[in-house]
């Protein structure tokens, strides 16, 4: 961290900044042991899409926004990495949607839950937003999961019809789909179980997604084509990565 040079002209400034934020979040106790490794995997996949929002991701983002805006009980589920990287924009989105945010972590400890809840409450009060932040007192269980991973809030995840779950574990993603919800996944790995399982999968970096959801909130919905085919959209993403690598390896045949 001491070596982070805040030089926005560096070609990989955004990536280095996110790494810096994550290392800081780890020091504050916001992250589980495997969170930095997960972030590294994300960095590698992000590199393969050029560290940008590609067309297939933007299309998925628009469909996600459509579903969130037209939901009866939308909810935004956040874990440690998501809170650190995109907490502010997701609070703004929750405010625009008038829906709750629920802290929902895979390796649940009371201490880490509290650090994350405090972090979100601080941002909320700094921005002067009126958003319900859930997770402190789980009172429901996601069917099909065991132990603390099943815990959630009745007024949040449990009763939601549309859920935005960035960086979600495959098992939990599957359990949420099995509950009949529209599950919006954000995952940089287009081959992950969550990516394949989601109703709408946005293969993009979580802070870019959160920003796109907020800045694009009033996009022209009538231009969207239905139904959205998540499998086809994932294939388009793979095709994009494939072409990127193909250009790089084109000198050998």
């Amino acid at each position: 961290m001491k070596d982070f040079a805040a030089d926005p002209s560096h070609p990989r400034y955004e990536s280095l900044l996110k790494r810096h934020i994550l290392e800081g979040a780890a020091e504050k106790g916001m992250l589980a042991g495997s969170a930095l490794i997960a972030h590294g995997r994300g960095e590698a996949y992000d590199y393969l899409i050029g560290e940008q929002t590609i067309d297939s991701a933007m299309l998925a983002t628009k469909h996600a926004l459509y579903q969130l805006k037209n939901a009866k009980n939308p909810v935004i589920s956040v874990n440690g990495n998501t809170t650190a990287l995109a907490g502010e924009d997701l609070l703004k989105l929750a405010s625009l949607l008038n829906c709750p945010i629920e802290v929902n972590i895979f390796y649940r400890t009371a201490k880490r839950m509290q650090v994350l809840l405090n972090h979100l409450e601080e941002i909320k009060s700094k921005l002067g937003l009126n958003v319900e932040i859930l997770g402190a007192s789980p009172d429901a269980l996601i069917p099909g999961l065991e132990g603390p991973r099943a815990k959630c809030c009745q007024n949040g995840i449990y009763s939601s019809d549309v859920i935005l779950v960035p960086l979600e574990d495959g098992d939990r993603c599957e359990a949420l789909v099995a509950m009949g919800k529209i599950v919006i996944v954000v995952d940089l790995n287009p081959l992950s179980r969550s990516a394949k399982m989601g109703s709408i999968t946005i293969v993009d970096e979580v802070s870019r997604v959160a920003k796109n959801l907020v800045t694009g909130f009033d996009f022209q919905e009538e231009k969207l084509e239905f139904p959205f085919d998540n499998d086809i959209n994932l294939q388009l993403t793979l095709k994009h990565i494939n072409e990127f690598l193909s250009d790089l390896s084109s000198s050998v045949d």
Copy 2:
């Protein structure tokens, strides 16, 4: 870590085991803040080569072994991640080559150096090997680098003609090449600066490479073709990844 299930039948057992080892190493103070993120990037790239030693990597490994065996002053440079994942096999390799191992970390602190040196000394004594472990008292500087990153040992890295530097930073790799050394890089990202800069780049996971170097130590050198072209070999690696992804995205045209 508590959630690591030691089930060797799990399809991703090896990958999960390495993650587990790295998390343990972080807890022991062996790693810098960015080390877990770097490991995660490696995991993602490893996934793209099928978590196996591909042909181009095995070819580079054989050329690396040839150079190490025919060197006047070979040396093995290790950082935190390398020590945690491949310390044992690299000590065995050093014993076979009768060369020193030098602990050489990017974010150098006295405490972390000591933890790593102790870790290697413990393995060495457990295996009953006679290997010189350097790094405690750097007495030379790598030209072209500033601050603690330039530090190295006269009897190790400084005077080496062939150096194995797994998971090395791009700047340091460049500085070692500029010293006229044959630099053997181990990096899962075929597009990294180190990968492009190395004399011989092995795009493979460091513990697999270390094992291949030890188990293949007496391979038939006369079958190797010279000169080794690192750029062509990297292109073949990209082609391999490309074909892997192409198979996955083939249903969209």
